[in-house]
């Protein structure tokens, strides 16, 4: 680990996971498990809120969530390479866009 992490020794522990050929895939498997948990919970939330989910609504939601995911990952990637300002702007601009899109998506999800 270099760059930002060379100036923040505590963050060098990241290397224990992301620099390891065994722990890195394990990390993504856990991430996959968390996403399964998230979508399982979400299915119940939607049904309790009386939202009738169809396949295309799930697809729209997944695309939106992917946008959030990529925005956070992208922003922090820039932070990690010592471009903190660019990372925060990236998350600020695309985050705002995603909030607006999220409001629109919410209305769509609430349609029958």
């Amino acid at each position: 680990m270099n760059g930002l992490l060379s100036n923040a020794p505590a963050l060098m522990y990241f290397d224990v996971i992301f620099g390891s050929t065994v722990l890195k895939p394990l990390f993504w498997m856990i991430m996959g498990g968390l996403l399964i948990l998230f979508f399982s919970g979400l299915r119940l939330w939607f049904s309790d809120l009386g939202i009738a989910m169809r396949w295309w609504k799930w697809a729209l939601f997944a695309a939106w969530f992917m946008g959030v995911y990529v925005t956070i990952a992208g922003g922090f990637t820039l932070v990690g390479e010592n471009e903190a300002r660019a990372g925060l702007y990236f998350m600020g601009v695309f985050g705002t866009l995603l909030i607006i899109l999220g409001a629109g998506l919410w209305r769509i999800l609430n349609t029958k």
């Binding site: 680990m1 919970g41 820039l78």
Partner: protein
């Protein structure tokens, strides 16, 4: 169904799901942070030996028309076109042998210079004055150095360590002695086996060169117009024909260490890449000679008989940027070049057009940040050099800044390399851009990227890189901890 603590299964999954969603987003942030800072994203500093740093797929961008624009009859390159050759000649003229008057002095003016210097400066009014100003600045730079030494001790030591191979008995590779027809063959073994084909030769040479430490390797046929005229290493000042065995050029690229490079103009240095390159091409020259073919290494800072950016373009490594430096898809402008000229039968690569030159027409970030104003702001290249329209920086202006920034002596600036949007490490964010941008025929992707580059990223501004009173000794990005003197020493 209720459990013993009264939480039903449905509520549990709902709550756990929310926590899982939040954790996966946090994981995305952590993975991003790790990707941004990962050592393996430091192209050229980890995966090089197995050719893994030459990761860009050039095939879709092969072109029969290299991105340098031919506008007239090409010509060989007068050796004084190179700044360092020019300065060496001027210094020689100004140094008087004991008891004699110097052959030239400032008072005599540019008209009194011998050819080819006279014509060079006649074609570039003001350039000689810029050099004179650079010498003035150098005096001030030396006077300023005690003020900055404590801050920049490590950067100086780091640069000096990398530069230590440049001269003296430890210098490598050795300079050629005598005409190329002798020196390029000296130490060559008799050819013992024949190559299966030129293609085998190219593949072998590339693989070997990667193991020597080259991030990128490309091969081209040598065009006569890329060979200098008027000076030949090993011989001296002479007009010469291009030797018959100068058929192919193996072009090699390596980057500067990334964190110090981003902390230019003060913390970076040119010699880290130069030392790598010298060892690579020095060893490659020996390797090729041992196979029974003539070879001649070309290496930085000044040991060249050919112009490097155009041969690198011919070899398909990249395109020339507005700042005059070669931009490659893998390393951006953090690309330093060396080469071996050889008579070994090889298969040449093809030039590429990955849209870099077109992007430069719009970008102009290097010109906006250049502390010397040496880089053109025009919308397209306008300078015609020996039959080619291309970007050309004002070399003397650039050199003036080398003699101004807060270093002990003129050891470069490289701000234009650091700020160039192509100068990006190898991680998923920049790789998406690398793949998508050159494939977008509309140019919209490039426009969006440039918009983001100019709004999201902050640039200190051209004066900020200079010492006070004109600037504040800024670097493009803060230096890494390992180059900060006060992290290690009591000031």
């Amino acid at each position: 169904m209720k459990n013993t603590k009264g939480i039903n299964r449905r509520d549990f999954i709902k709550k756990a799901g929310l926590i899982g969603g939040a954790m996966s987003l946090a994981g995305a942030g952590a993975a991003g942070l790790a990707a941004g800072a990962a050592s393996e994203s430091y192209t050229g500093w980890g995966r090089t030996a197995y050719g893994k740093d030459q990761f860009f797929n050039r095939k879709p961008f092969f072109t029969d028309t290299p991105t340098y624009e031919k506008t007239g009859a090409p010509a060989r390159i007068p050796y004084v076109d190179d700044l360092f050759n020019r300065l060496r000649e001027l210094r020689r003229l100004m140094m008087a042998p004991p008891g004699q008057a110097p052959a030239w002095s400032w008072e005599m003016g540019a008209e009194a210079l011998p050819e080819p210097l006279k014509s060079y400066y006649a074609d570039r009014p003001g350039a000689l004055d810029e050099y004179r100003q650079a010498l003035e600045n150098a005096r001030q730079q030396r006077a300023n150095w005690p003020k900055y030494r404590a801050d920049h001790l490590l950067a100086e030591a780091y640069s000096a360590a990398h530069a230590s191979f440049l001269s003296g008995p430890g210098s490598f590779p050795p300079q050629p002695q005598g005409p190329p027809e002798e020196s390029d063959f000296r130490g060559m073994d008799n050819r013992y086996l024949e190559l299966k084909s030129p293609r085998h030769g190219s593949d072998l040479i590339k693989q070997i060169t990667h193991t020597f430490g080259a991030s990128l390797v490309g091969i081209c046929r040598l065009k006569k117009e890329w060979v200098t005229q008027g000076f030949l290493r090993g011989v001296g000042r002479t007009d010469f024909e291009v030797p018959a065995h100068w058929n192919y050029v193996v072009v090699v690229a390596a980057p500067h260490e990334w964190d110090s490079m981003y902390a230019n103009p003060i913390y970076g240095n040119s010699y880290d890449a130069y030392s790598k390159l010298r060892f690579i091409v020095g060893k490659l020259e020996v390797f090729i000679k041992k196979l029974g073919y003539p070879a001649r290494a070309q290496f930085p800072p000044t040991s060249f008989d050919i112009a490097m950016p155009p041969v690198a373009i011919d070899a398909g490594l990249g395109e020339q940027g507005r700042h005059g430096v070669l931009i490659t898809p893998e390393l951006g402008a953090n690309t330093r070049l060396a080469a071996v000229i050889t008579g070994m039968p090889l298969e040449a690569d093809r030039p590429i057009n990955a849209g870099i030159k077109a992007f430069c027409n719009k970008c102009k970030i290097c010109a906006e940040e250049c502390p010397s104003g040496a880089i053109s702001f025009t919308d397209k290249p306008e300078t015609v050099v020996r039959g080619y329209r291309r970007w050309a920086i004002h070399q003397e202006k650039c050199y003036k800044v080398w003699n101004t920034v807060a270093t002990s002596h003129a050891r470069g600036c490289r701000v234009c390399i650091a700020v160039c949007p192509y100068t990006r490490k190898r991680n998923w964010v920049h790789n998406i851009v690398r793949v998508a941008d050159p494939r977008d025929p509309t140019g919209l992707f490039a426009t969006a990227m440039l918009g983001m580059q100019k709004t999201f990223f902050s640039y200190p501004g051209p004066e900020a890189y200079l010492p006070p009173p004109d600037g504040s000794n800024k670097t493009y990005i803060d230096p890494p901890k390992w180059l900060k003197t006060d992290e290690w020493f009591i000031k």
